[in-house]
Structures are given as structure tokens and as C-alpha cells.
């Protein structure tokens, strides 16, 4: 059996080790609120490997084609949706702005100049063709 000294208020008692308490609080907060990079996902993204291309699907409902941009720079694909809608009612005029973005790091050997993107039913599909050298090649070896 252990005898533990009784404290009226563990938070303010000088004999309590505050570091331990703070660590425990940090741990609880970390568990309750996941790291920001997980929360900061603006929209979900799927990645697929095709035989001669990498395919990215991004769920971006309610945009116009011209509000979406797909950019590749330094091996990073950035998909951005930027929408500015102005609604005019009988009495009020309101402007709504929405900007979402995701960055995906890309593998090497992609033909950046041949990227194709389509937008259908609120889903953006980006096809990034691979360069010839990484496509699996079948070589027939003659056995003599």
C-alpha cells in the first residue's frame, strides 16, 4: 500500500511537479486534436499508378473549370481551387470566397509537359504520363 500525500488543489500546490502535469495535458491535447497537417487537408485526394502514368483524383465539388488550377514546379503538383461568387439578393449583395489547395510531391520521370486534367461531376482527374525510361520494358532474351 502506498501513502500519497493529500493535496487540496493539485494544480496550485507547490509540491506538485508541474512539468509532469503539463506533459500530461500536452499528451491529452495531442490525442484530442490531431496534428494540423492532417486537419489542413482541404479536400481528399486519391493516387493511382497506371502502367504508363500516375493518376491523381481530387474531390472538388462546385467549382467552375476556370476556377481550378493545376501546376507542377520542382517535382510538386499543386492543385488549387479558387472561387469567388457574388450573390445579389433583392436587398443585399454578398461575396463568398473559397480557396482550397493541396500539394503532392511527385516521383521522378514524369513528362511534366504532357499532363492532362479533366473535371467531371466535381472530381478533378490529373494524368501525369511517365517518361519512356521508367515504363516497364519487356526484353526477350534468346537462350542459346
Amino acid at each position: 500500500m502506498k501513502l500519497i500525500r493529500y493535496h487540496n488543489s493539485p494544480l496550485y500546490s507547490p509540491s506538485v511537479n508541474h512539468t509532469a502535469l503539463r506533459n500530461e495535458m500536452d499528451r491529452l491535447f495531442d490525442a484530442a486534436f490531431p496534428p494540423l497537417d492532417l486537419l489542413q487537408r482541404d479536400f481528399p485526394v486519391d493516387l493511382y499508378q497506371e502502367k504508363d502514368a500516375l493518376v491523381v483524383r481530387a474531390e472538388l465539388p462546385g467549382f467552375k473549370k476556370e476556377d481550378l488550377s493545376v501546376e507542377v514546379a520542382d517535382g510538386i503538383l499543386t492543385v488549387t481551387g479558387h472561387q469567388k461568387a457574388t450573390a445579389t439578393d433583392a436587398e443585399t449583395q454578398s461575396t463568398q470566397e473559397r480557396k482550397v489547395s493541396r500539394a503532392i510531391s511527385l516521383p521522378d520521370h514524369l513528362q511534366v509537359d504532357k499532363i492532362q486534367a479533366t473535371y467531371e461531376a466535381g472530381v478533378l482527374t490529373v494524368k501525369l504520363p511517365k517518361t519512356e525510361e521508367v515504363k516497364p520494358k519487356q526484353i526477350t532474351v534468346e537462350v542459346k
Binding site: R41, P44, D46, R57, E59, P61, A121
Partner: protein, 122 residues
């Protein structure tokens, strides 16, 4: 206000998820917008049965056989939203529009609930 209240959906064999939706009131209608990405016209059903308005959207996308998933975040569940509507709506004049994964339903108010001016006689 309990107009357009969400009805608890009973779980069916297929897993469904409630889409994100919004209801806006204009002078003569209620406008509902629901986010149903990946759903096209042919896979969306909007039905009014009694006092139940049901929106069912099936994701049309199937991963092609030659695509290997590397990383997946987009859920594959279908969308279902069941709302209760009463006689404050003119249910014969409900209009639906689907554009880039966003469904816009216009539910006109019934004549009885529209604002009206009452003339003073005499």
C-alpha cells in the same frame, strides 16, 4: 425552425453517408444545396414520397482494372439524405439541378405561406 428537418436514416445494406448540405431561404422558395462529388445525373435520384424527400446519390466511379491504388482518401460510400417536408412546400414544383457534384434543389413555398399584403376594406 423545423422545416426540412433531417430524418434519421435507417442503416441499409449499403453504407451511405449524409452529404454536406445547406438550406437557404428566399422570398418564394427554399434552396437546398448538397455536395455530392462523383455523382452524375444518371446516378442521382431525388424522390418525394409523402412527407419524405429523399436524395440518393451513387458514386459512379469505378477504379479501372489497370489502375493500382497508391493512396486513397476519397470515400467510396454513396450519399443519402432524407428530409421531412410538409405542406408549406409546393412539392409539385420542386426543381433539381446538378452541376459539378453540387445538387441544387429549389423547393417553392406553398401559396399559403408566401408573404401577402392584406387590403383594408372600407
Amino acid at each position: 425552425m423545423n422545416l426540412l428537418t433531417k430524418k434519421e436514416t435507417t442503416s441499409t445494406a449499403n453504407r451511405v453517408v449524409t452529404p454536406r448540405y445547406d438550406v437557404r431561404e428566399t422570398i418564394d422558395a427554399y434552396v437546398l444545396t448538397a455536395s455530392v462529388p462523383g455523382v452524375d445525373k444518371t446516378s442521382l435520384e431525388t424522390t418525394v414520397d409523402g412527407d419524405k424527400l429523399t436524395i440518393l446519390g451513387r458514386r459512379a466511379f469505378q477504379v479501372p482494372a489497370n489502375w493500382t491504388p497508391v493512396h486513397r482518401e476519397i470515400p467510396q460510400t454513396d450519399f443519402k439524405l432524407v428530409l421531412e417536408i410538409d405542406n408549406r412546400f409546393n412539392r409539385d414544383a420542386i426543381k433539381a439541378e446538378l452541376s459539378q457534384g453540387v445538387l441544387t434543389l429549389t423547393l417553392p413555398k406553398a401559396e399559403a405561406v408566401k408573404p401577402r399584403k392584406i387590403e383594408i376594406l372600407g
